[in-house]
Point group: C2
Chain length 341, copies 2
Amino acid sequence: MQRKYMAFGVTAAIALCALLPTSVRIHAQSDDLPSWADGPARKAIVEFVRVTTDKSSPKFVPPEDRIATFDQDGTTWVSHPIYSQLLFAFDRVIALAPQHPEWKSMQPFGCVLSGDKAAMSKFTMKDLETILMATHTGMTPEAFQAIVRNWMATAKHPRFNRPFAEMAYRPMLEVMRYLRDHGFKTYIVTGGGQDFVRAYAQQVYGIPSEQIIGSALDTQYTYNKAGQGILIKEPKVLLDNDHAGKPEDIYLFLGKRPIAAFGNSTGDRQMLEYTQAGGGARLMMLVLHDDAVREFAYGPAQGLPDTRIGTFPQSLYDEAKRRSWTVISMKNDWKRIFAFE
Amino acid sequence: MQRKYMAFGVTAAIALCALLPTSVRIHAQSDDLPSWADGPARKAIVEFVRVTTDKSSPKFVPPEDRIATFDQDGTTWVSHPIYSQLLFAFDRVIALAPQHPEWKSMQPFGCVLSGDKAAMSKFTMKDLETILMATHTGMTPEAFQAIVRNWMATAKHPRFNRPFAEMAYRPMLEVMRYLRDHGFKTYIVTGGGQDFVRAYAQQVYGIPSEQIIGSALDTQYTYNKAGQGILIKEPKVLLDNDHAGKPEDIYLFLGKRPIAAFGNSTGDRQMLEYTQAGGGARLMMLVLHDDAVREFAYGPAQGLPDTRIGTFPQSLYDEAKRRSWTVISMKNDWKRIFAFE
């Protein structure tokens, strides 16, 4: 199974190499991508940056069109065993419970308050939405982000027992920096909450809030007691930024098509397709979680456990192969996964 | 009446000056704003840029927060006697009529096809929406923008008989450039169609598509015959970017509050309020159309004709005075309005 997805990367690298004068150096500066093994994934990245930024290249792309989009959960940081935003929401239910005595006997809140993990693992999308709406609305975005930042400073990942900021993948942070150093603009394009990610994206990824595209609730413009204009987060979904929502929202925000896109699941499929459809040099990459020792291993196509987070089914493999997308093996392509290692 | 709104600008300038060491030079480079008369509006702009960009100023703003938002119609280019996007839509009805023989006897299309200006002047919002949906959807955004660019290259303004690109106000182009030269990011925040403005914004304003926030229709992700991912513009409003929609969408796109905002009507009121509410140095400006000779004169508060485009009622005047916003008199503050003068 391992050989199978490795083959995609090799295929992509060979395809790219065929387009180049053989004498050209295709290596990055030795310290640009230190966490990456010298394999097909690293080669695909370096080669893509070379052909798009070398003015003499027929695939040169002007800086204003160098857009690279990154899914977040499972692509730029750990999403297992549970999305960090859900952990945040559960922690908020506990924090807000004294103001809501009725929650104790009211589902889905009751399960969270009693710590019933078996029941919580069976939460439906509707249950999760109820919890998200109750914990993410009725305040200004500024107040919400202050709560998120406070949580980020104190909460710890259940397996690694470290702050979530340290759950970012070092190789992906290197790729983001490497792309920015070559005139790219890097965007997070996440199914997660836009406000949630914006609260820490500058600190964790070096990405400013205007380059975070995510699922978003409506806001309502109103006035505070001093007569000043403020916004209040409303319990109504405005953007569901996953699957087809990703290319739709990328277009809404940018009016441009990315030339590089990174994902790890079916939720990223359309973003990668849309990126590739622009023609010219394109880089599409999918992170495969195949390292149970250093991180997690899941994804049915590899005979790895299926989970409801970050699905990477056989059909996505088949599409990656057919469209020459590069699959990144955490196990083989990443020498180092976390900064704390 | 003239004296009244001039007083607002003077008040704002005095308020700003009171905050400064008197020895500081508050003039722009002599050629930065050549189309601006040396009055209170120009002084407010120059002073705002000085206090926000001088590192020793207590009101210094780091470059990443230097966000300036501009309404378009009536603020950065001519919106009278009719919004350019409506003219575009009427021209599209005529161009598409051969494919829609039923339109001849179907309102509101029939009036457009017969050139019945009296009937067209009475179009309701519903009529206009019908025409916009019929002419702006069912194609990719790329195809739509190509049509807009072609129209921009050929259509002429009914009074000035020049291409619409020349309808941009030279003083506002100067302010945009002046702000960008001082590390600001300039955004168009328009009630008009985002896709429409994006088609020409780089050419007319030097602003890239990702810095255009406008009213937007939904898009639908689908596949072309080659199996490539494409978007199709749908007849469904996603963002109504006017009035309260402006601050809501600014937050959606940027996650930041502007520190400078320019408008000309009640549709911009909330954007200016929201900008000011951030505290610290802020610049809020409203363009008053009081120059019937060189452009147009309208706005009931000045005893000028009321129109349904770009309403500037007494209540907006009162608010501008109360909140110390600067009102720009086209007649007195702009030495030159158009590049072709």
